[in-house]
Amino acid sequence: MKLTGHVWKYGDDINTDYIIPGRYMELTDPAEMAEKVFEEHDPAFREGVKPGDIVVGRTNFGCGSSREHAPIALTGNGVSMVLAESFARIFYRNAINIGLPALECPGIHDAVEKGDKLEVDVTGGVVKNLANGKELKFKPLPEFMVEVLNAGGLAPYLNKTEEW
């Protein structure tokens, strides 16, 4: 699975309150959640994000609350994947569960700048920065998670899977 997109670059410890503040947790409509993404942390994101764009963080991306609103708010804006040195575990599960690839990619933060175009082989484990030619390898996702992503998330996956 190869995807291309432009980078939105953030730092360490991007918590779920930054991605979507607690006062919007009462929302249940994904489109409404999408409107609130990075509302205070980076208002320019919502204005500039394009379908297929890639969010890049450093360490501990998605720490804090268990709210699934956070990855939903990202996919609702067309974000195709999140790349980071490391993820907080609940965000990581939530992202995969809704069909958003969350890929642990050592060195990614220093290898890209905002706006760079990346080509990512999600299953092969290769990121190519088309802006500067740099190439990074990462450990591909386990087969089970790839199946969940290919199904479009855990809900459609389980809908077709008796064994669980």
Binding site: D17, H41, G64, N94, W164
Partner: protein, 418 residues
């Protein structure tokens, strides 16, 4: 041999033993849900092809985050949940004013040693204080639990935390966990469990152990766990009935790392903005003026915390520049605090006392901070914007420090406020 997590997850997955790194499917004993994550979980359950929850007696629902509702949308969400409860014949429903889910669950005897508790809330790790493997998940994972009664887990590595030494006056379990967070850092326990051992933990109240386990997630932890003992069985006996499984790590268990913490001579600890590991002893803070003190939450809203605050506030008057919000973590705690005269003294001191709920902790309900304001809070997160404006600052402390700071108007050692 096995850590507590490896032991519990072996039983839950029907195996003789498990090792850190194993992927397992665990049977879930308790599924914890609350008002702001569950509607998405119901939708996920239905998308998975299930019309009914796998076992209505094992699903607990608590309305605590936006309770009572502070917006039309929250009121609508509560009604979606009430309809689901009726449709699914679920008995274990705790409506507005019952309290915070992590307090209500054990108080009503739902948590026992050795269980697997999965909650659609990051602070589900609180229940490790009862010797249960308890962890937070998102709504789709919860949907899978509701549909199938199982979840997949990677058996976590464990950091062993030994807490020993003599706790000084005005030093409380919150100071212990903040001192631990300073050492481990906000991502130092990612994907791992924390096991709390040592004399300080053994001598701690159950409320204190809940505070330790509650904040495992603030270091990225999957679970926080304490061994079981007679003190716990006595606590449980007042709320449920045995026999209880004894949950102890094997002496030769393999740990990822060991942290030894000596509390002797430690002062009250403060987590400064905007990360939970930005921890300093209170004496290092230079008269940080505050506009609000919040005493409550699943971290520190228990009777023990109410008493710490009461010790400081009784017969005194809150500083005119500070608003104080005190929110007991459950109805039982609120009633007991009323019976003991604590609430009257809070009100006489000038505090606002509100109904059991999450309140100011997550910034979605009452008690928000405005731009440029500073707040001290007994809750668990001080992220920028967590309790209102992104231009506000949140400091985390024990109830004793929060109460002392409410009297002086700046962050204060409880000793100095007396």
């Amino acid at each position: 041999m096995s850590t507590i997590s490896e032991l519990i997850l072996a039983r839950a997955s029907g195996q003789e033993s498990t090792n850190a790194g194993d992927f397992i499917k665990a049977e879930v004993d308790v599924a914890l849900n609350h008002d702001v994550t569950s509607v998405l979980a119901f939708e996920a359950m239905r998308e998975m092809g299930a019309d009914r929850v796998w076992d209505p007696d094992k699903v607990i629902m608590i309305l605590d985050h936006v309770a009572p509702p502070s917006s039309v949308n929250a009121a609508r969400v509560h009604n979606v949940i009430r309809n689901f409860i009726r449709e699914q014949d679920m008995k274990n429903f705790f409506d507005v004013n019952s309290g915070v889910c992590h307090q209500v669950l054990p108080e009503h005897g739902f948590v026992k040693p050795g269980m697997v508790v999965i909650g659609a809330d990051s602070h589900t790790c609180t229940h490790g204080a009862f010797g249960a493997f308890a962890t937070g998940v998102g709504s789709t994972d919860m949907g899978a639990v509701l549909a199938r009664g199982k979840t997949w887990l990677k058996v976590p590595e464990t950091i062993k935390v030994n807490v020993n030494g003599k706790m000084g006056n005005h030093v409380h379990p919150k100071d212990v966990i903040l001192a631990i967070a300073k050492e481990i850092g906000v991502s130092g326990a990612t994907y791992m469990s924390l096991e709390y051992h040592g004399d300080v933990v053994r001598n701690m109240t159950i409320a204190g152990r809940m505070t330790l386990c509650n904040m495992a997630i603030e270091m990225g932890g999957k679970a926080g766990l304490c061994e079981t003992d007679d003190k716990l069985y006595k606590w449980l006996d007042q709320r449920t009935s045995g026999p209880y499984e004894e949950v102890m790590a094997d002496e030769d268990a393999t740990y990822k790392s060991v942290l030894n913490l000596d509390m002797t001579g430690k002062e009250p600890q403060i987590a400064c903005p905007h990360n939970v590991d930005n921890v300093r002893p209170v004496s290092e803070l230079n008269k940080v003026k505050i506009n609000q003190a919040f005493i409550g939450s699943c971290t520190n809203g228990r009777l023990e915390d109410m008493k710490q605050a009461h010790e400081v506030l009784k017969g005194k008057t809150i500083h005119p520049d500070v608003r104080v919000l005190i929110v007991p973590a459950s109805r039982a705690i609120m009633k007991q605090a009323i019976t003991e005269g604590i609430i009257t003294d809070f009100i006489d001191a000038g505090a606002t006392v509100s109904n059991p709920s999450c309140a100011a902790c997550f910034g979605g309900h009452i008690g928000l901070l405005g731009p440029g304001e500073k707040g001290i809070a007994t809750s668990n997160r001080n992220f920028r914007g967590r309790q209102g404006s992104p231009d506000a600052e949140v400091y985390l402390s024990s109830a004793a420090v929060a109460a002392a700071s409410a009297l002086t108007g700046y962050i204060t050692h409880p000793e100095a406020a007396q």
